[in-house]
Amino acid sequence: MKGETSFNYNKKNLTMPRVLTLYQKCTEYNIQGCLIERLHYNDLLLLIYSFDIENLKKQIATAKKMRQISKGKKNAPEIRDVSQADALKYLK
């Protein structure tokens, strides 16, 4: 068929194996090799989930803070430097 390549660019082929995703998470959260070896699979998953939840909580908290800061900026009076002529115009 026209435009068909020998390699099948199926979405399924590009998904990363679960184990690799787990190893990626272990590296991200600095979980040591000996711990990975010793921990039961379910325990390791639980540890990663708890780190994920903690991470998400932190992200939500920072997002909330950022939103509050941006809201505060909108309500606050705008301060700017004006020239002498502008000041006189305002007073007249």
Partner: protein
Amino acid sequence: MIKTTLPIIEKTLVKETTPDGEKEQIKITERDIVITLDTSVYAEERWEQNFPHNAEKETLFAYVARVQKSKQDKATDTANVLSNLKAIYCFIESDEVATFKEFCRLFDLSDARHTEKVVNKIVYIFELVSEGGTASPKNS
């Protein structure tokens, strides 16, 4: 790491001298081998490497949980036993068992008595594996 045993069957050809002459006979010996169960993420890695079609559908531990729930671990038909042996193979860390084919050769599923022993062991190993973690419902 959990150590346990697995009942296996060994078949060897033995030469026997009878008054009629020498005869070759198959000698069947049953014995238990010591295996070490690895319930870490490496078991899951072996599951994905050796049985990608099964791994596509579910994780090794999800498979064990499903089989235990549906009581398929107690089933004695060859198809179910073979599927369960796939899972057991992934938990085993041993130099004696290189490939899944070699592992299957250790059992004689045509022998009902031996199959029953293997099934009982499968049930026991699945229990050990699913309750081994501190996050299991029994430990919470």
